[in-house]
């Protein structure tokens, strides 16, 4: 095997896969050579005349092929061998005269990364693939690997799409007078490291349920500000509760103290009771509630000092924006 641990980076970075490079690396270990190789490749016999080899390469648009006797691999003819033959003007010779006999091979059960290492260290353009008995079962080029990896990445994307498709139809087959999905998140006080994690989960859930990017964004921003308020201001943390219905999203953020003495003042843009420490984190500018009001259709803030605060927010969804009812009902215009 290669002396230096070759990184698949050397070969695989191109525009299409650069974005998925980490997953690509994983796939290079997961995928087997037999999954990406070309099966039943064109083969040559040792007795084949070189003139016929050239003609076959031209017709099949290939630049190399393994030479087999019976089922056993005995050599390979590459472009280099062919050029060698042409230089000697020896096109009537047999393939066995010009083939390379020491052939580098990979096994079908090897992970793709092993083949990549050989490609990096040896400069060969193709590798015959053999089984445990040494029988030729396919051929592998760098192009096969790139295609195989892209196909596998495509499968990954499809899995996410299926998940999204299922979630987006969540409510369709459930009959009730009023169906909703409730998500609850416990928010710890002063937990700035995880601040925003709940909002992030909520935004992702909405997108999976088929919410438009605009709705997910509005909801994300509103919940994020509410979540940060719980982290910054509460004594013992609080809860974010999101109720998702096909035609509306209702969010509540509530806590048990300390409460807001003057709700009207708290709603005023720019008013803040946050400490210098909080401001250094980029929050506490007194814009949070104003931001929330801007993002939601309806907002109610109730607070009792020493008892707690409850912030209720609602986003109404038009028929085209409904979540969890799938695309079909949107096309029909729905009948609910």
């Amino acid at each position: 095997m290669a002396q230096t641990p070759a990184s698949p980076h050397n070969i695989l970075i191109n525009d299409q896969v650069a974005e998925n490079i980490t997953r690509t690396e994983e796939l290079a270990y997961e995928l087997r050579v037999s999954e990406v190789m070309t099966s039943s490749p064109k083969t040559l016999s040792p007795e084949m005349i070189m003139r016929d080899v050239v003609e076959m390469f031209r017709k099949a648009r290939i630049s190399g092929a393994p030479v087999v006797q019976g089922e056993n691999l005995v050599g390979i003819i590459s472009m280099e061998d062919l050029i060698h033959c042409l230089c000697q003007s020896d096109l009537d010779a047999q393939a066995s005269k010009y083939m390379t006999r020491d052939v580098l091979t990979v096994k079908g059960t090897d992970p793709v990364v092993e083949a990549l290492k050989i490609f990096v260290s040896s400069k060969v353009g193709r590798l015959p693939v053999i089984d445990d008995q040494g029988k030729l079962i396919g051929i592998l080029t760098k192009g096969d690997i790139t295609r195989g990896l892209l196909k596998a990445l495509q499968r990954d994307i499809q899995v996410e799409e299926i998940r999204k498709y299922r979630a987006s139809h969540l409510f369709e087959d459930i009959e009730s007078d009023r169906t909703s999905l409730i998500l609850r998140y416990n928010i710890k006080p002063r937990d700035f490291t995880h601040g925003g994690a709940a909002s992030s989960h909520i935004k992702r859930a909405l997108l999976r349920l088929g919410a438009s990017p605009q709705i997910a964004r509005r909801c994300g921003i509103a919940v994020y500000e509410a979540e940060m308020n719980l982290i910054i201001h509460t004594l013992r943390g609080g809860v974010i509760r999101v109720e998702i219905e096909p035609n509306r999203i209702s969010i509540e953020a509530y806590d048990d103290g300390p409460g807001i003495p003057d709700v009207e003042l708290a709603m005023k843009p720019g008013y803040s009771t946050a400490s210098e420490e909080i401001r250094e984190l980029g929050f506490g500018a007194g814009m949070g509630l104003a931001n929330i009001a801007r993002c939601v259709d309806n907002m109610v803030l109730e607070s009792v000092v020493d008892k707690g605060t409850r912030l209720k927010m609602r986003i109404n969804l038009d028929k085209e924006e409904s979540v969890g009812e799938g695309y079909s009902s949107k096309l029909d215009g729905g009948t609910s």
Binding site: T22, S200, Y224, F283
Partner: protein, 125 residues
């Protein structure tokens, strides 16, 4: 402008892996107050900021930010980098200050994606 091109314009250095450098940046926004960012920024903008904590990435995620640039050569803590890698948002550090960065990007053709207070209600409302 692509993220990769933006990095060139600002002599930037990419900090994290996994982000899409071909992602299109449609404009810019500069602020250190995250609530200001959330209040004003339009989707697909680059966010210029001096703030380095993980909340910058969360804010970016909520506001559909295309890339984050830290001004004055700042390097964020590991929690910020990890979160950005997970969320596939490019983190870039540039030696220039906020004013210089805004100027360079504006001159390179990047418009402002900060909604002015006088613009009134946005498409969000």
């Amino acid at each position: 402008m692509k993220v990769s091109e933006l990095i060139r314009v600002i002599n930037g250095k990419l900090i994290n892996d996994g982000a899409d450098l071909d992602r299109e940046v449609k404009g810019g926004c500069g602020a250190d107050l995250m609530s200001d960012v959330l209040a004003s920024i339009q989707p697909e903008a680059v966010l210029l900021t001096g703030l380095c904590n993980p909340q910058v990435v969360r804010t970016a995620q909520m506001a559909d930010v295309a890339a984050i640039v830290f001004v004055r050569g700042k390097n964020p803590p590991i929690e910020t980098i990890e979160l950005a890698t997970q969320e596939r948002i490019a983190l870039i550090t540039s030696p220039f200050g906020m004013f210089e960065l805004c100027g360079r990007l504006y001159q390179a053709g990047l418009p402002s994606l900060e909604r002015s207070v006088s613009d009134g209600p946005s498409d969000l409302e």
